[in-house]
Amino acid sequence: MRSVSQRKGSSAAALFGIAGVVAVMVGVLSIAQGVRKTMDGSAVDENAIVLRSGADSEMMSGLAGDDTRIIAEAPGIARNGDGALASPELFVIINLPMRSTGTDANVPLRGVQGQATAVRDSFQLVAGRMFEWGLNEVIVGTGAQEEFAGLEIGSSIEVGQDNWPVVGAFSARGGIAESEIWVDAAVLQPAFRRGNSFQSVAVKLESPQAYDEFKNSLTSDPRLNVKPQREAEYYASQSRTVYNMITGLGTLIAVIMGLGAVFGALNTMYTAVSSRTREIATLRALGFHSTPVIISVLSESLVLAFAGGLIGAGLAWLAFDGFRAATLNWSSFSAITFAFDVNADLLAQGIIFALLIGLAGGLFPAIRAARQPVAQALREL
């Protein structure tokens, strides 16, 4: 091991090579983790969402006002002083410029009713005040406020010929609602010519176990043609496309780069072995078995790889964790804002990947070192 310091240049090249690979891998995958965390963070076990059957997202769904009343009467829904915890909602998008580029994004605009905040316990007003029911006022999620221009409290958004003032900002424990703008559904319906129709009903059930009863009563009701889903299920399906795409690409890039790093590590280790040929041969001539030789070479490469992995993962964590961005949720055609998420799993994955590179890069040189005929090796140089 001590011989590492004699080959600083070569070892540093291998180390930083591996660090680079791990940083890129962790960085890219943290985008996918961030999107998933935003989506999953929105899900609560006892919550469910009801869409028209055949609809994959709120955007495509449509429910008549009468249907939403029938849904709110279904068994299993929790109640509070104001009645059943069911919130019929409208979901549309409006164009607002992104701060980063100035070009338009499809920002989700949600029309809600009184129980919306009771259904979502994560909802918390962080600035300003709640909008007045019946008035053209909106509140905005903190994520949306950060990514899109013109959503400060006191400014207003243009909807058709009206200007709707922004009166408050809310957070939702990092969930997807933070990307949204909320307004009274009764105000949104006429503005978007939706009559008395909605797109989804969000409900809070008495308990996660009440879901089956709730679901059965809705699907067997001849008056309805709806699809209830647990929130977790719904959000998982919403993030699947983006998650799979980024994870797939990230893995592909990491594997290809990893190959490059393996070649680099092999080079370093072969060089290390060849410059120590005589030393190793002497050790073996003295009676050392080939196993310690293998172990010494392998452990050198693993230590290099581990250090590289740590540096890479650390760099990625420093550079990317919490970095905020927006992307398009393909299934609902609307923007979601999220934070890159470099979590412990990813860091561990990065370091394991580095160790694999180290193993691959050290194994063959180690075997070669062990197999070298002693006499010939001693004669060399």
Binding site: A13, G20, V24, V28, G54, S100, M245, I253, T327, W330
Partner: protein, 383 residues
């Protein structure tokens, strides 16, 4: 020429190391090629967007519809040649992951508005004669193995039918090819008249207009005139050049260019370390040999070019093989199984790749080369 043999023999000296270095350089260029193809998939739309076309949509959002009656009003505006409307159908073919764009349009308007969609006269005539007919791009036809005459069922997500059904069936009567490499051949067009009479609601409403202007230099002015025409109406419009519209859409997905550039920088930095390290070693090991060469009368400059030449041959072999491999990989299809409208390495980026090979060879080789150049014969031989 006399150096070639020397370069070649020094590369052969440590075959394994040479091979490994070439492989790692190759990997960098495979990634380079592959990532440029991905970037291209996102920006191709901007590059092939017609400079003489505008997109006119509802001001509030793309999902809001515009009256079909706007078409004749737009066409009366000075500077507008003609307008074509389209609507997002958003249906599902078999399963949601088989995503592609479907749009009802007026057949004649497709032919005149988009010269980059090459459709044979025979297919055009068939499309005009078949109410339930559809024309699909070469890309998706190949993706799903369709052929002309097939009946294609598509599940509506937005547009239910009057009879309450949600399955629309279309007869594939034609295939369009792209006039350019970057043309999107993943779209599916069907007839607006069939759509309008079959859909359950929204009659007379369309998604957006594509407008051809007579003078691209006046595009901004004409866009403003269109918006002014519908200002203060219940459906105000936002008109912008097609390129800006596509760019805005790509921006929503994320800053793809920036992400890819960052990855590429990390990759090249990594590989540069590996290649530079190899070159440094090669020189250090051969100090006495280089000194002998100098003693034999090789000039300082000659030794410098010898080392640089070695570095160049290493990167050139690795880089060229890498670019070829990337090209092969890319022509095998895109990683999303067809969600990208186009997937190829643009010629411009291949040239960038060649430039990068030269740049990398220089950066990796220059320091060892200078060391070799400065070598004092006496000192070096004594070591």
């Amino acid at each position: 020429m006399k150096y070639l043999y020397l370069i070649f023999s020094s590369l052969r000296r440590k075959k394994l190391r040479t091979g490994l270095t070439i492989l790692s350089i190759m990997v960098a260029f495979v990634l380079f090629g592959y990532l440029t193809a991905i970037r291209q998939a996102f920006v191709a739309g901007v590059e092939v967007a017609g400079a003489d076309r505008l997109i006119v949509r509802h001001k509030v959002s793309l999902v809001q519809l515009l009256p079909q009656s706007y078409e004749s009003r737009i066409e009366q505006i000075k500077g507008v040649e003609n307008a074509a409307h389209a609507t997002w159908f958003g249906g599902i073919y078999q399963e949601p992951r088989n995503f592609f764009a479907q749009m009802p349009m007026v057949p004649e308007e497709i032919f005149s508005m988009f010269p980059e969609y090459v459709i044979s006269d025979e297919h055009q005539a068939e499309f005009l004669a078949t109410r339930s007919g559809a024309i699909a791009g070469r890309g998706i036809v190949e993706r799903f193995g369709w052929k002309v005459g097939d009946r294609i069922p598509i599940q509506a997500t937005i547009w239910g039918k009057k009879d309450g059904g949600r399955t629309w069936e279309f007869d594939l009567v034609g295939i369009y090819d792209g006039a350019e490499k970057g043309t999107d051949t993943s779209q599916f067009f069907f007839r607006y008249d069939f759509f309008d009479e079959t859909r359950a609601f929204g009659q007379g409403q369309v998604g957006w207009y594509t407008v051809k202007v007579s003078d691209p230099d006046r595009a901004a002015e004409i866009a403003a005139a269109i918006d002014a025409e519908f200002a203060n109406s219940p459906q105000e419009t936002k008109a912008e050049p097609e390129g800006a519209f596509v760019q805005g859409f790509a921006n929503q997905i994320g800053n793809i260019g920036f992400i890819i550039m960052s990855i590429m920088t990390a990759v090249f930095f990594t590989i540069l370390l590996v290649a530079g390290n190899t070159m440094a070693y090669t020189v250090r090991e051969r100090i006495s040999e280089l000194a002998v060469l100098k003693a034999l009368g090789f000039t300082d400059r000659g030794v410098l070019s010898l080392v640089l030449g070695e570095s160049l041959s290493l990167t050139a072999v690795g880089g060229v093989i890498g670019l070829i491999l990337a090209w092969l990989l890319v022509s095998m299809g895109d990683p999303t199984q067809g969600s990208f409208p186009v997937f190829y390495i643009p010629t411009r980026d291949l040239l960038t790749g060649v430039f990068l090979i030269a740049a990398m060879a220089f950066v990796a080789g220059i320091i060892p080369a200078i060391q070799a150049q400065r070598l004092q014969i006496a000192d070096a031989l004594r070591r």
